[in-house]
Assembly symmetry: D2
Homo-oligomer: 407 residues x 4
Amino acid sequence: MAETLISVDLTKSPLENENIHNRWHPDIPMACWVNPGDDFILETFDWTGGFIKNNDSADDVRDIDLSTVHYLSGPVGVKGAEPGDLLVVELLDIGAKQDSLWGFNGFFSKKNGGGFLTEHFPQAQKSIWDIEGMFTKSRHVPGVRYAGLIHPGLIGCLPDPKMLEAWNAREQALIDTDPTGSLANPPFAGTAHMGKMTGDAKAKAAAEAARTVPPREHGGNCDIKDLSRGAKVYFPVYVDGAGLSVGDLHFSQGDGEITFCGAIEMAGWVHMKVTLIKGGMAKYGIKNPIFKPSPITPTYNDYLIFEGISVDESGKQYYLDVNVAYRQACLNAIEYLKKFGYSGAQAYSILGTAPVQGHISGVVDVPNACATLWLPTQIFDFDINPSAAGPVKHLDGSVVMPLSPDL
Amino acid sequence: MAETLISVDLTKSPLENENIHNRWHPDIPMACWVNPGDDFILETFDWTGGFIKNNDSADDVRDIDLSTVHYLSGPVGVKGAEPGDLLVVELLDIGAKQDSLWGFNGFFSKKNGGGFLTEHFPQAQKSIWDIEGMFTKSRHVPGVRYAGLIHPGLIGCLPDPKMLEAWNAREQALIDTDPTGSLANPPFAGTAHMGKMTGDAKAKAAAEAARTVPPREHGGNCDIKDLSRGAKVYFPVYVDGAGLSVGDLHFSQGDGEITFCGAIEMAGWVHMKVTLIKGGMAKYGIKNPIFKPSPITPTYNDYLIFEGISVDESGKQYYLDVNVAYRQACLNAIEYLKKFGYSGAQAYSILGTAPVQGHISGVVDVPNACATLWLPTQIFDFDINPSAAGPVKHLDGSVVMPLSPDL
Amino acid sequence: MAETLISVDLTKSPLENENIHNRWHPDIPMACWVNPGDDFILETFDWTGGFIKNNDSADDVRDIDLSTVHYLSGPVGVKGAEPGDLLVVELLDIGAKQDSLWGFNGFFSKKNGGGFLTEHFPQAQKSIWDIEGMFTKSRHVPGVRYAGLIHPGLIGCLPDPKMLEAWNAREQALIDTDPTGSLANPPFAGTAHMGKMTGDAKAKAAAEAARTVPPREHGGNCDIKDLSRGAKVYFPVYVDGAGLSVGDLHFSQGDGEITFCGAIEMAGWVHMKVTLIKGGMAKYGIKNPIFKPSPITPTYNDYLIFEGISVDESGKQYYLDVNVAYRQACLNAIEYLKKFGYSGAQAYSILGTAPVQGHISGVVDVPNACATLWLPTQIFDFDINPSAAGPVKHLDGSVVMPLSPDL
Amino acid sequence: MAETLISVDLTKSPLENENIHNRWHPDIPMACWVNPGDDFILETFDWTGGFIKNNDSADDVRDIDLSTVHYLSGPVGVKGAEPGDLLVVELLDIGAKQDSLWGFNGFFSKKNGGGFLTEHFPQAQKSIWDIEGMFTKSRHVPGVRYAGLIHPGLIGCLPDPKMLEAWNAREQALIDTDPTGSLANPPFAGTAHMGKMTGDAKAKAAAEAARTVPPREHGGNCDIKDLSRGAKVYFPVYVDGAGLSVGDLHFSQGDGEITFCGAIEMAGWVHMKVTLIKGGMAKYGIKNPIFKPSPITPTYNDYLIFEGISVDESGKQYYLDVNVAYRQACLNAIEYLKKFGYSGAQAYSILGTAPVQGHISGVVDVPNACATLWLPTQIFDFDINPSAAGPVKHLDGSVVMPLSPDL
């Protein structure tokens, strides 16, 4: 049986756990060391470190301080790993903590984080999803049940100083283009948790450590639903020992993680195995991680597919903009689901949490990009296919998703 | 046996065929009429109407007048179809013309059309793909062979005058933002082929008819690879009789049709069946077409997945831009394939023509979008998976893709 | 475009076509020759050579002389093929003849051929299936529609004299165990069609030529539904030139071809490519053909699975008998489908023609074998899953399958 | 979190646990009761109750007393269940016990149990398989690694007295046909474990209780690999409370469980949910259980397929005998794998433990049945596909499977 190298106690704050960190910095000390070929288990907090509760109020989603996320387990040092290597990580299995068999999905307030459709859903809302073995369902979103496509939203290795500097420089340059906005998040020492670091060293590193929200060259917060248990990932190594960290586990998520808060977020554990390809970055010309999907994934294959083009709700034309096109595909799917009795928020929640596919279907036919959203029909308790008779309203609106207006 | 309602003679110009048109306009007369429940066959030219030849020069790709495309077969009138209905089209089968069992893929010159990676591949290039039953392979791109995911790149119904007006207005507004550029293509009467229209009526309609390149609310040039034979599509109807047209057949294509010229482009035929859902647009809240994929598609399921984030090649940071992210994923895949002996152009060609998936993996983690490109490994004659030993160079570079420098 | 090496005229008797044969014998002359690497097309009669008609009477099924089948196209000689080689055949594509877009399925009378459930369906019955592009449906079996899993029921190479002798000897030994029965069919010169052979040579060969019904070491009438277009087969070679013949095309079939007459039987064409693995039989220890399935097959994956054990309808216990177990699974499925309004004959016809899977689930748990029948639910127009409310009778019995009582 | 209703302590004998039984009898008292709609966990011993050890000797496989198996957990009473109902069981998840992350596969001696290929492998052999998250591999069978298709080999409800009587009668009638053989196993009180029963009641019931080896109308030891976690099963109910028992968990198995001892056998737990369809047996015409497969199963889809016909190794002809045909397909696959360096025993072990499919391909073409064995190529560390170059011997024979000769 694999050893659990990092444990988390969900009754305590992640800040008390020195094997947890919430920033990226090359100086964060390894929480533990393993050998190539080892397999081991890391437990993880949910990405908010327990801030979001299993209840029927969205106040916590509204009030969260997003500078605190994500709480990651690690870094794990791999003996012999050197810059330029590829660290091969097999995700042997992933699961929820037995004392926490539930997850949450929510929409942040437009004033605090927002999300892909925040113009349409500007207020904090939340849904709780119970985990029943390999499946999940929600008391706030009736009529659906999914098989889990369990994955870490965030996984990757420590950056080296040069890479960290490049991240900070390019993101600050973007921030500088709109000083009043929130295009990106610069380092912020106030809520930084730097693992075992203390004192001045911690203060110095915290002041320059990268935030965890964006995915970057090392992987990080990619939120790729298909990087699921059973998958094999090839990570670039930038520092001696690699420094692998993981967190932000999701029981299920749709392509894009459009709800931002987020997928079905959960605390849990990852059983993984690490090996090395020496010099693999140059051998294979690798800049970002590459991976192979799992041989065990939900086999839903009956989809209803929605199209969107890069013309927005107001009729404004954009030039080959996939984001606009995918947003339209999502809105089209939501309008469709409302005909069966879902509220818009429930439909949005389904798109954020079900194993929905989002495809970049066309990016060259000026001026319209075309994106498609693939909704698996087999997750519904009733038939959502179109028919000559028209839709049947299966839900009466009596079940609603908690909403907390801005204060 | 289903009747062939529209025939094309590949030895003649599409301009001589009055059941062909290359613009969208509500006044284009129906080429023929069918009843709901009918199934029938339409033959089609390739999208360039035969301009691109099966040879080893890319001159035709360089020299093409893109104002002439796409040559569509139709419109087919469906009796009883009225605005607000959904026209249900089953693609019963699709194939190449028996006298034309090949297709082409190319990159347009950056000066004439370009493509998704035109900054990296700015000159006209071409590859020819032979169709062998259900499979295709190319004398210009060795080491790969695909099962066809045959589909129409372009299919949809005639717009009504109001919709046409909206298209022209919003696209002109975009064009006006950069008068020196080519953000979109306004109506252009010079090369318009308006089916049976003649004289003044034709001249008037041609001057305001929409170009066929962008996908729009009616579907049109969506270039969705999964809208393949066996699929079922629900099209909005805007005019009496619907006016269904189809063309731009592809033997195979990757998500995004990133090479623009285009997929594996071919002349062929479509066997389809039409029925109606009366008032279906309002019943289901439909703005863009929706569809169900075919039960018969290539079952490749061993993928190598490349990630890209919205930081460009120069290190510049973009805000949640999926286009930039997908471009990076594509470039990452190309670099990888070069390690096995492919030229960059050949690798690009594979990404444009193979059943590659492009997923919108993350669109909320500011400031980086994350896109993934899924490359099916089973299309290669050799193993392209990473290993500790490093890549084996299977190709010696002796096979090259035709290139025609700008004049 | 591939050359059609063997053509068939469906308006003429197969006996007039010297590229057709209905027996296996090493002396049958090659109908034509090809080189390794060639691809070519062979047209085929349906297995009965046109005896069964597209009408609403089962008289032809009742009256057929089964000594006349199967009419095969070939043999094709492959230059350089020698005994001990493996002949690699790629089934590049398969289709129905354009002038014959239909197929038949039937049950033989128990007195003339029978079938797997002949005790329950002892009289001749027939259903006609129309081919609509990639799909089929029947005017005699309502409520179902399948995507075609098109395949040759019969394909293989000529035996050598020694193998032929072994076949005849072992089958005669079986026949001799029950002289009054019909356990197997010995050579029968009366209706033998020996291709180009004439005169005494023909008479001699016809008297010893093997019948085509059973599958044997060379492949032959395997009726394997998954050996479909796109598949790659490795056939043992016994004679110089190999002598590849093919026929008995099926548009769709369930595992077991339980109705015997047969799958959805059709006239059509096969586009194939041949190569050689020299000495491949010894290299790989090959006795029977091996094959790889197609990458393009129907993706139905929602199944309702019926179990059967080796206890027959009367309660008699058999020892690990998979045949008895599969028969029970089939009967269980038929009883289930009757609850939705199907006649037993229609249900039997579905099991014989749809892409039903039959699995050997357990063969060691004395005394009961366990077999499972996998019925794809997505082929039905209505929901056949069990529910607390019980089955809905979707069919009113007004559509019946033609039946012709024994004379 | 679901409650664990039955626990097992692997350090103790199953005979000490009164929630375990190894016979079928209507009088076995319910171990516990649940309500329809409940989900709960049952832990299970491996089928031998811990007799087979994780070591490198096959002595235990040779010496086992097969009258002791299978040790089942239950029966679970379901409130409100009555004869004629269908008990719907959802297998929400299944796993190995954390203190026992391994399984075994073996061949019984021909003198004690045997197996499907016992004539070829007449002596006791064993392989141990380690469970690594979702995967398994063996120190005795190199070069393969599978994703688990985890399932209970044995699950079903208690028979009523009449059914029990019928079982005993028909099996005794078979036994009587060969008094010297072991065609089936009659009741045997000596090693019966009857759960909570004691004293005379136990003695009486044990003397007539059915053995657990064969699958029967209630399901029982079906050993169906696809009845895996995530599947939904509909069981006939024969007694008030249904009396659901489960055991014989398998981490992975091939169709047929041809090695008999058995699949990859393990101790573990089953998380399940029960509901009822009142009167469901009559409503749906159910005799044996039916089920729907899981939406989460290994997606291996690249198969090498071996054919077998009903002519045995000696050349003897059988009449449409699927067992003989499947045995030939298995032997053909074993010969093939030996060319890559496997011993026959290792190859046999792979066929018994990997997610191999066994199809009943043809059962009507007198006199030969045709069966196919589908070997997933993606479970091998190396390429096992045929090529013109011939097979590469990847294994040097240095790793062997333990064998214990008969005493």
